[in-house]
Amino acid sequence: MFEWLSDNRASIAAVIIVVMVVMFVASIVIGRKQAALTAKDEVFGDPERTKGGWYWAVCGVSALMLIWFYFSWGIGRAYFPQSANEMCQVAKLEEVISPVKAALPIGSRYYKSTLLVGRNVNQLKALQAQAPPSAFSSAEQKELNELISLMLQLIANSSNPANLSEKSKTQLIDVSGKLDGLSEKLLAGPKNLKPSTEALAQAKWGISNIEIPMLPTTSKGVLFDSVSAEALDLTKLFYKIRNHPPANNKIIADVKVRIEALKKATEDGKFDERATSARNDYTKSVQRIFRRLDDGTIFPATSLDGVSTAIAKLDNAKDDARGSLGIIEALFFPGQGVVKSRTQCTEQGSARWLPKPTDVVATFIGLANPDLENGGGYKGIRLLWWKWLPVSDVVGFLMPDWVADIWPGEYSRHGSDGTITPNLKDNLLKFVQGDIYLGSVPMLDGHIWDSVFRVLVALGLGILLGVPLGLFMGVSRFFKSFFDPLIELYRPVPPLAWAPLILTIFGISDDGKIFLLFMVAFAIMVISARTGASGTQLSKIRASHSLGATNGQIMRNVIFPNALPEILTGIRIAIGVCWGTLVAAEILAGTTGIGFIENVARTVSNYEIIWVTILIMGILGLIFDLIMRWVIDQTIPWRGKG
């Protein structure tokens, strides 16, 4: 079932998109009709005008979904499932000819030769101006000047079209011709080209780890694929062409001799250390530039005109051959299209970081699968499931070992025959350490439960300790003044600022996170209970005194219920803040939990999982809040009516 859903996610998306469009249009129609009905009855600013309006909720949700589908290329994949594969083949051609374009003013601003000439001439002029007089005698200075002039002459010769060798000319014409051949091939169209069976057997787009299937699956794709394979050879050929003008041969030999002589003079002459190093540096700089010039990569500008024209022609042919693909890409694939990097074709732009809704659902189902052996869960832990929890684990966690230590008597010793007979104290120790099996109870398990459990335990502790303290702070001068500085000092510190300290002290186990969240919940609960307690009407307190209530009874029966609305609001806020803090704490350290999943997914750039965790957090937060709203409605119906 899941396999089928997963394989057909593009078709499922196609249906959902149609439904969304229908819902979007229908809700607007209904909304406009309803607006026409009510427009006369209500004035602007009347809060009644915000009530109802489910159709606008439908409109908003469907619009959001459509935007999500659009920018994640969900619409494109649903209706043009082959497009990405074709775009990938076009991208292959782009990738292959991009080095050639980079050498011409098509892929960059200048000819590569222009840049080389500029750089080399600048460096040579700089060397000419700064031959250090302390290291070179005036005779040598003169020689150096000549050497650099010779090298400048090399550049001038290479740049002159009249000096271009016949061999180079033929090679350039050959490349242009072959490029024209590729253009013609593209313009001729796919004709009888067929995708290979291997290509057709590839996993569909978005199903496997490889984002877009690499081998061409359409005839158009095959055409581009084969052209790009040929273009790769052409590119290699183009980069092998060198320009060695015959006029340069003598100068090159001369320069080589002069550089060798310079080196020898440095070796033979008795120069001090500083002068030697200055001479060597200078020689090396000259030699480096000379090697570049000797390489023959500078061409006369006009000599490359043929290749430029051929490349432009190939570009045009490519656009023609793409045909409808270009329009589809412009309409349904927002962003920078598909780019082929070394090993794979990837989606660029919004589709890169925004996974398709169906992919997110598929990832979620995959994570939620409790069958760990078959790839369910995440990092060996299920998302949300149940397990048998041994009661002894709970006992071992709750009971400290000193309970056994303070039991009267001694722990047993080994006897003279080398055997140990455990006594009552030994057994008690085993019990409090959780080593005695006491049966098991079913318990929730998994990443989600781990996160929820941490929040609930911390919140429970925060309520248990914070509410009484807050109530007393609301009514007692001592409690207020004694604890106020303490709480008000630590509370304003952002919880995440405490996290590194607390996680260092407690380690990455649950304790640290629970303590961190407890600190958050505790402060909120104290403040809300205190506000609620101090807001009790004096007449109610006086009435209960007159009715014979003791201080404790007033606390329980008057001040506490009076503060209950504030306390529940406090719990609602505390849940939200704890939830936010928890995820951040789990990102900092931990081996389970929603934040942990997101953090691991981040390190491997798995956008689907990142989005799944974000959605899980949002939904769980919403559920918490809905529960609290319901509790508030049920427990304090008197709120605001006192």
Binding site: Q537, S539, K540, R542, A543, S544, H545, S546, L547, G548, A549, T550, Q553, N557, V558, P561, N562, L564, I636, P637, W638, K641, G642
Partner: protein
């Protein structure tokens, strides 16, 4: 007997910042016998509520002393029941739980409490409202609950701080009858503070008119209208000539006091 007695009761409030002192009450002497109904009337700021709070035990007098049945008053107690202007009901409890609050605090047997609560709800005219949340009741009904809550504890004295002040005219009249009825049936000592001259005349068997700065008893009356109110219609009493005369007299008195205050300020 359980008489409410005040001897030279003085109350001075000192502003802790400025150190200036205000004499809220000066030399109040009072002897309220069991079963008497005292109404206290006076312009704003004459110390009516301060007097009541001292008798209730919420404030300690600066000098002088107050006692009930020979016992010095030095804190709130069940023997002095209170009824407040806004009812001061516990809105999180239903009517019956409000009424039996005092009994629950004493840990009275639940069955006995239940009987008592039903009896008193019956008397104040709220039979069948036991499970209703108090916030769903009208202002008049809330005051009935407050009365029942106070009476179920069987106090010696009932201290009422403008109990009917927030009610509409019609409800107010009905509640005035109820107070008189309860007074007659229970024979409790009642002290009622009010802003309304008419109410003071109708309810006060005895009437104190207080004057401000310092708060003191300006004039004392003994009036027949409360006794008559037990049998006659209150509306008829209001049209009585004697009633009108006393009302005018007191109104003039209070009017002059207010004028004096304005002049001084």
């Amino acid at each position: 007997m359980a008489d409410l007695v005040c001897k030279d009761l003085c109350m001075t409030f000192t502003n802790p910042q400025t150190g200036s002192a205000v004499e809220a009450l000066k030399d109040i002497n009072l002897n309220l016998k069991k079963g008497e109904l005292l109404a206290v009337l006076g312009p704003s700021g004459c110390g009516k509520t301060t007097l009541l709070n001292m008798l209730a035990g919420f404030l300690n007098p600066t000098s002088g002393e107050a006692s009930l049945g020979g016992n010095l008053i030095d804190g709130p107690g069940v023997e002095r029941g209170m009824v407040f202007q806004q009812g001061a009901l516990f809105e999180w409890l239903p009517v019956s739980k409000n009424v039996d609050f005092g009994l629950r605090m004493k840990k009275t047997d639940p069955d006995e409490s239940k009987k008592l609560v039903e009896k008193w709800l019956d008397i104040v005219g709220l039979q069948g409202f036991g499970d209703t949340p108090t916030y769903q009741l009208s202002g008049g009904m809330q005051q009935r609950v407050a009365l029942a809550r106070c009476l179920v504890n069987n106090p010696d004295v009932i201290l009422m701080d403008e109990p009917l002040g927030a009610l509409d005219a019609l409800t107010r009249e009905k509640m005035q009858s109820l107070v008189l009825e309860l007074w007659k049936e229970t024979g409790k000592t009642i002290m009622i503070i009010t802003h309304s001259v008419e109410e003071a005349l109708l309810l006060g068997e005895r009437l104190f008119v207080m004057a401000p700065r310092p708060g003191r008893v300006h004039k004392e009356y003994n009036l027949p209208f409360a006794e008559r109110g037990l049998t006659e219609s209150l509306r008829e009493i209001k049209q009585d000539k004697h009633f009108s005369e006393v009302r005018e007299e007191i109104l003039t008195m209070i009017w002059n006091m207010e004028e004096e205050i304005m002049g001084r300020v």
